[in-house]
Subunit: 355 residues, 2 copies
């Protein structure tokens, strides 16, 4: 295989259809890739530096470099922010090199995304997966042939950077389509199973600004668990049941049932206390506007939400209502594929690197 | 015992703390009497007519009479409305007479209430219980000595008029305090158990106008049951678990846990699809205003709601927020007793009866 000097990786983001929070406690979840992408352009450098440029992703950060020999960071933003942004990229590159058994190199990594981070659409997973895929391609591997391995390395990237991570985001953005994630499955290959949808799902995906952090919300859920452990376990089991029922509804193409189940899952997120007032208003309004179901998606307190529409036309109307309520709509459908890698890039090259 | 010519029965209304909808499917529920009363003034007539005057309860109906001999209704409102209003009173009177083994008589029944019907505060149960109690007193019984029997006859009244009814409302308004209702209990005496609260509960009870009927909401819940029966059963079990956990939280005086559990129950009502947008906004706002927990109470789509406050002072603030959002606040505490019966009435007699 030809080793390329520059690659462009296009990675879909994702929406959680069922099981956020509960997947942390080992029950199954359902997620889908959506046609809103993160583009990562990568090339090898002649020195040992990792230079990351971002556009539109982190408002405060546009350019940061890590010297791998001295472990020193140059950044226009604060060093903490820089290290956080860099951490996914540098960890992914190291795991890629270790996997291939090749030596340390320098890289230019240019990340384009118009989605904010931490809203539940899997942007950090997409960056991890995309960096792994781009590195494999640059260093002589074939990432599209070994998608599950890319997903696994992306997951390990998130695990190392965050300390804890569900495989949901990395597997869904790497493999695409609608995915059933079973954290209790014995093998990595079986963690994310493709769900064969009996018919297209008119899905509306949007978001509002996040209030608070994912860590705060996970801690809030943990407090509920410690104050009522048995009840909490039952609620987790019910959320797992919903994920399983949603899988079956998608497989048989029962959109109405899918909608109902999605709304039931939303109620359980309300029960966990992670839905904010603005989302509550939006979810109820989308249901009044004709959605078959709607829910908060992701960690909560703002961030992503989704609605199931009875038809593609109706999805357009529901999207208009969501925008009217101040939300940003990012997708009205599911993306059937995972990441893709191109050896050539049709656009102008990113700005020249540091130094 | 002296047979009185006129009695006044004061019946508290009630709020469901946990388990509405689920109690229909046999799981336990918790309810409390609240210090907002229905007054029923009753006297025997010399003829065989039941004359019901209402003040403030049914906007369209102020006065209606049933001739028990001819079964004909005279009313200022439509006959259907009249029969519905009369039906609780006439059924209760018949059950009272049958229970005592006494003959049919005519009655004047004057009902005062400033609460609308069908908002989940148990007004029809209070009318049933109050009519039973007043009839027993007028016909020589001792209703306050046999409260459980009054509750049971009130429940039978609701069963006959509505076709189906949980014992929750009639037992709670008859017996007072905080009640644990177990529809699966073997004996009537054990259906409603008094919960000994370890400390006073600063409770805020309010309501918004109802949209749709209880029957429509019960049917909506039944549709969810038929589309996902196993999941539905699990949700019902979880609601039963919440009711049991709430009972324990009240018994040990853990207000914070009580609040959390109440909010979890609200989430499950959202899951059942019976919470409307206005309630959702109010519940979230009361939580932001410092409530330890808040929930829709009763059948849903508007109607009653409650919040648990950390203190009596804070309950006042939360009530102000609820009013600011357009709700009517009806109580800020729990009423420890059930109905009471007086032989004399301190106020002027109601207007003279028909004909």
């Amino acid at each position: 295989m030809r080793v390329l000097s520059r690659v462009v990786v296009k990675v879909p983001t994702k929406i959680t259809i069922a099981g956020e929070h509960a997947v942390v406690y080992g029950v199954p979840a359902v997620a889908a890739a959506i046609p809103r992408f993160i583009l990562i352009t990568m090339s090898l450098r002649s020195d040992n530096r990792i230079v990351v440029e971002t556009q539109g992703l982190y408002a405060r950060l546009s350019r940061v470099a890590l010297d791998r020999s001295s472990d020193s960071v140059e950044s226009l933003a604060s060093e903490d922010d820089a290290r956080r942004a860099l951490s996914y990229v540098t960890t992914a590159l190291r795991l890629c090199e270790e996997f291939l058994g090749v030596g340390e190199r320098g890289y230019d990594v240019y990340i384009e995304s118009d989605l904010p981070a931490s809203i539940g659409l899997g942007t950090s997973a997409a960056i991890s997966v995309g960096t792994i895929a781009g590195c494999l391609k640059l260093r002589g591997g074939d990432p599209e042939e070994y998608r599950v391995r890319v997903a696994e390395l992306g997951w390990r990237t998130e695990l190392e950077v965050q300390g804890a991570a569900s495989p949901m985001d990395t597997f869904t953005t790497a493999l695409g389509g609608i995915r059933y994630i079973d954290p209790g499955a014995g093998s990595v290959d079986r963690i994310a199973t493709w769900i064969a949808p009996a018919k297209p799902i008119p899905l509306v995906v949007g978001y509002t600004p996040r209030r608070g952090t994912t860590a705060e919300l996970v801690a809030k859920v943990r407090r509920l668990r410690s104050s009522a452990p048995q009840l909490f376990d039952r609620v987790m089991e019910v959320i797992g049941d919903i994920a399983n029922a949603i899988r079956r509804a998608i497989e048989v193409g029962d959109l109405e049932l899918l909608g109902r189940l999605v709304t039931v899952n939303h109620g359980l997120l309300e029960a966990l206390g992670v839905v904010d007032r603005e989302h509550s208003l939006i979810i109820h309004s989308l249901l009044e506007a004709g959605a078959l179901g709607a829910k908060t998606s992701g960690a909560g307190s703002g961030g992503a939400f989704l609605a199931i529409a009875p038809s593609a036309d109706k999805a357009g109307e529901i999207a208009i209502v969501a925008k009217g309520l101040g939300a940003t709509v990012v997708a009205t459908g599911i993306y059937p594929r995972g990441f893709s890698v191109e050896g050539q890039r049709p656009r102008p090259r990113p700005r020249s690197s540091l130094s």
